[in-house]
């Protein structure tokens, strides 16, 4: 092996940064690739709330699969520093879900602004940093044998996710009509 296995802090940081970029690239496609004709078709068959919920659901599932895939690749190529593998996998799924929800809504905004994925990153990075910081703190506990994962922080993340879904349902109708 030409590369050494990184220590757990570096592993953790790298993992979440790569999750962030996976999410931007995977989720951006969902709105930016829809052309006008297809949007018109969606417009005729469904309402805004069910449309955005469907998008959120699809992107969540996509991101959960991608998260598990990147976790597998990380453990294969960079070693396995996890002490509590089960809880870390749970955190990865929770994190992937949080990222996908926020970026799905931002992709909707960016698509309406007729911009490329770059504006999505500009809009999204500052908003996602608090959640990423919390996720990194939580996953640090999964790497150390003596720390326990605080349940209140996990609940906070779940509450934030619920709020994002709620906001998306409330605000999407304003993006939907043109």
């Amino acid at each position: 092996m030409s590369l050494d296995e990184p220590e757990s802090n570096v592993w953790n940081g790298l993992f979440w940064v790569i999750q962030l970029f996976i999410c931007i690239n995977a989720v951006a496609k969902s709105f930016l690739q829809e052309n006008k004709g297809r949007m018109l078709y969606f417009y005729s068959i469904s309402g805004p709330a069910s449309f955005v919920l469907a998008k959120l659901l699809f992107n969540s599932l996509l991101m959960l699969v991608m998260s598990l895939l990147s976790l597998l690749l990380f453990t294969l190529f960079l070693g396995n520093p996890m002490h509590k593998a089960g809880s870390f996998i749970g955190l990865v799924l929770l994190g992937g879900w949080s990222l996908s929800l926020v970026f799905t809504f931002l992709a909707a905004i960016a698509a309406k602004a007729q911009q490329n994925a770059a504006i999505m990153a500009v809009l999204g990075f500052p908003i996602i940093i608090p959640q990423l910081l919390l996720l990194m703190q939580l996953s640090k506990a999964a790497f150390a044998p003596l720390l326990t994962i605080p349940a209140s922080t996990v609940l906070l993340l779940v509450a934030l996710d619920a709020m994002v879904v709620l906001l998306a349902v409330i605000l999407f109708p304003f993006l939907w009509k043109d």
């Binding site: 500052p126 608090p130 910081l133 703190q137 906001l167 605000l171 304003f174």
Partner: protein
């Protein structure tokens, strides 16, 4: 004249803040000493910023309810002035940190990485970046109605995620970083004595009213510009 009482109040309160803030007695706390007077300026900047961002979001909501373009202009101008207050809050904070947090035995820039990692600073930076992104988004769209609608949606969405997280983040992260708890500069709010409150609360009101005043001037200018554009 009857409508300008709050402008007079702003000036009076700010004069009071400067005079009393610089001359009155303050408690001598270890490490802080006289720098505690910065409380009347630094903390008030953040208060004013948060209040102005909140007003901006309220105007974004009003726009989405009425589709009156006036409220979109209000929302943008309040956000711009709030950003100015945020930058001022950062610079007053940097001066304060260089006297209290920085290691006096080393050059100030050596302490920068330790200070910049504080969760409160990260939260403040995020708040400013979110509203810079708001301005970028708003100015990148040509069509007026579309611009107003999309930027109002982003304004509400960003505010609703940003503000809970910047209030909660500093309360969660220091518990995992025990180094922060030893720093008395973070606990300044618990140490405020009665004499400081007498200056601190009027100072918040004074700075916020000043921000409001600046914003009303900017709004009037923007409305006049808008009128000229539509009449051409």
């Amino acid at each position: 004249m009857h409508k300008s009482w709050w402008k007079i109040a702003s000036v009076v309160l700010l004069v009071y803040t400067f005079v009393a803030g610089f001359l009155w007695d303050v408690p001598r706390l270890p490490l802080l000493q006289e720098t505690i007077r910065n409380l009347y300026f630094h903390v008030c900047m953040w208060f004013a910023m948060m209040i102005l961002f909140t007003v901006s979001v309220v105007n974004a909501i009003r726009y989405l309810r009425t589709f009156n373009l006036k409220y979109d202009i209000y929302a943008r101008q309040f956000a711009v002035v709030a950003i100015v207050f945020g930058v001022l809050g950062y610079s007053t904070g940097a001066i304060w940190a260089s006297y209290t947090w920085a290691d006096p035995n080393k050059p100030a820039y050596n302490s920068f990485s330790t200070i910049a990692r504080d969760p409160k600073l990260i939260g403040a930076a995020i708040a400013l970046l979110v509203y810079f992104a708001y301005l970028i988004l708003r100015d990148s769209i040509q069509d007026m109605d579309k611009r107003a609608r999309i930027s109002a949606v982003y304004n509400i969405f960003a505010y609703a995620i940003l503000f809970p997280s910047i209030w909660i983040l500093p309360r969660i992260l220091p518990s995992l970083h025990p180094g922060n708890e030893d720093n008395p500069a973070l606990d300044v709010k618990n140490d405020i004595s009665g004499t400081m409150r007498v200056v601190f609360y009027p100072a918040i009101i004074g700075w916020t009213l000043l921000g409001l005043w600046i914003t009303t001037l900017k709004i009037r200018l923007a409305l006049v510009k808008e009128k000229m554009m539509t009449h051409e």
